[in-house]
Amino acid sequence: MSILETTGVRTESVVRIENVSKTYGSGSNALLALDRVSLDVQQGEFVCLLGASGCGKSTLLSLVAGLDQISSGSLDTGDRKVALMFQEAALFPWLSVSGNVELPLRLQGLGKAERRKRAGELLEVVRLSGFADKRPHELSGGMRQRVALARALAQNADILLMDEPFGALDAMTRDILHDELERIWREQNLTVLFVTHNVREAVRLGDRVILLSSRPGRVIEDFAIKHPRPRRIDSPEVSGQAAEITDRLRAEVARHAN
């Protein structure tokens, strides 16, 4: 793993989460969503957060994205920029495909011609060059997610946070998008924090799979996935490791039975 002196401070850690807790509400209604979660993400790493419902995985992403405040502990991304993708592409329907990708560039103050050119390059990356002038609703779900990815890349972020981005897609599309995401992650030298409840997806994509418990969310185990890339979601290695992690996850879910 290469050590990049991005901020020149001390390490290659891009996201440093230490003993982070998050409580919603207060008093007797207080809900502890995350309980002393610690996690270090290295530059260029692909980390999958895996857990059943109520494990606070989306909460953790919101905290890293700065959409929400932590209750205690410390969370440091060292002034790095983050981009966030959701299960819905959440493209703006009043803008064309290119317009959506150009919006972050526009907010960065880029000129019109430059924006158009850069958006063209990004659409090339997600293989949607021919669709720049389409409207989001004219595209399929998988294509919209790729536009959302291009828009996230346009934010020039060092860290890409993905909250079950392929959860609403069919298996075939998801499969192909896994390959695409893997390729783009490598080409663009991104750091990815990927939330999912799909074990195979996590093993297919991640360098590490962090298994979280539910209510409250705690880190149960940190699996290193060493299978060589590119992987296939249906390969014996991926399936084997997924089975192992699934067992742990089931045990965790069963713990919540009355």
Partner: protein, 317 residues
């Protein structure tokens, strides 16, 4: 043309496929595209997932399809009218036949005088509506921006909408005398709440994920309104405008009948004159004129609304 055999007609996506297959130099950095592994899978899937566009048929047929129910409705009304006339329910100088009325209407619309009246009325309508839109927008934006205002004024605005606008005229006449200002006052007070409400509910219902996207992009203050809140509330704002127009048009007609500004010859004044002269065909002619103007402008709003929906993909078709 696509280099692969396309199973169906992808009218809207052909250009896209050409670009994706590398037949054209797109906006990308290099004109010559290198085939990367997986490229065909991706563009093949894209082509399969896009729904083919249905042929809408020729334009003449489509116009006829949307026009015939309206023509039939007109025919039914005219026939019923003729039947009532022939039944001798009222003497013909009180209740004229459709043919006599249409003759009067035909003569009316060929006079320059009539068009002067329409021009005056439309000038008032547009001015009043424009002012109502400006005021409604400012109020709507302020109310949705500041929570205390929202609590105080939000329900007041909804309350105002239930008020029949004609009830404002006595007060308006006392405040502004018999003049343009009295009419404008009522037009604005009738239409502005609808415009404000449209904007407020539009802003209220901006989807949460969009707001989060904006936040992640670092939008704040003016940029957030400019690039997210205002465009996102557009459909609701357009409905508000449409409703506001309907209210302002009704208020204006009431105003022109009640508040006769000396020396003006608006549509309302002329209708009142026709009544004074017991000229029923002329009264009915003015009713038809007001009806047609109302329908035409309503259609313009519908056109804008459906164009917006189509652009946003809210139609499902």
């Amino acid at each position: 043309m696509p280099t692969e055999p396309a199973p169906m007609k992808y009218a809207g996506t052909r250009a896209g496929l050409e670009g994706a297959l590398g037949a054209e130099g797109g906006p990308g950095p290099e004109p010559q595209k290198i085939k990367k592994p997986g490229y065909d899978e991706v563009s093949g899937l894209d082509a399969l997932e896009l729904t083919p566009k249905h042929d809408k048929g020729n334009i003449g047929l489509r116009i006829w399809k949307s026009a015939w129910p309206k023509l039939l409705a007109i025919l039914i009304v005219v026939l019923a009218w003729e039947a009532a006339y022939l039944s001798g329910w009222k003497p013909s100088y009180v209740f004229p036949s459709p043919v006599d009325t249409f003759k009067v209407l035909g003569d009316l619309v060929t006079t320059a005088d009539f068009w002067d009246g329409v021009r005056l009325t439309m000038t008032r309508a547009i001015t009043g509506f424009a002012l109502a839109v400006a005021i409604g927008t400012v109020i709507g934006a302020a109310v949705s921006r500041f929570a205390p205002l929202r609590a105080a004024i939000g329900s007041l605005i909804t309350g105002l909408q239930t008020m029949p606008s004609i009830m404002w005229f006595p007060l308006a006449i006392l405040l502004f005398q018999l003049g343009e200002k009295a009419i404008m006052f009522v037009v604005i007070i009738g239409a502005a709440p609808s415009v404000a409400n449209g904007l407020i509910s539009g802003i209220d219902y901006v989807p949460r994920t969009w707001l989060r996207v904006g936040q992640v992009m670092g939008m704040s203050g003016f940029a957030r309104y400019r690039h997210l809140i205002l465009p996102a509330s557009l459909p609701s704002f357009v409905s508000g405008l449409k409703q506001g127009w309907a209210f302002s048009w009704r208020s204006l007609m009431a105003g022109e009948l009640l508040v006769i500004v000396p020396g003006t010859i608006s549509v309302g004044v002329r209708m009142q004159n026709a009544r004074d002269l017991s000229d029923t065909p002329l009264v009915i002619s003015y009713i038809l004129v007001v009806l047609v103007i109302g329908i035409v402008i309503d259609q313009l709003f519908n056109l804008a609304d459906s164009a917006l929906r189509k652009r946003w993909g809210l139609t499902g078709g």
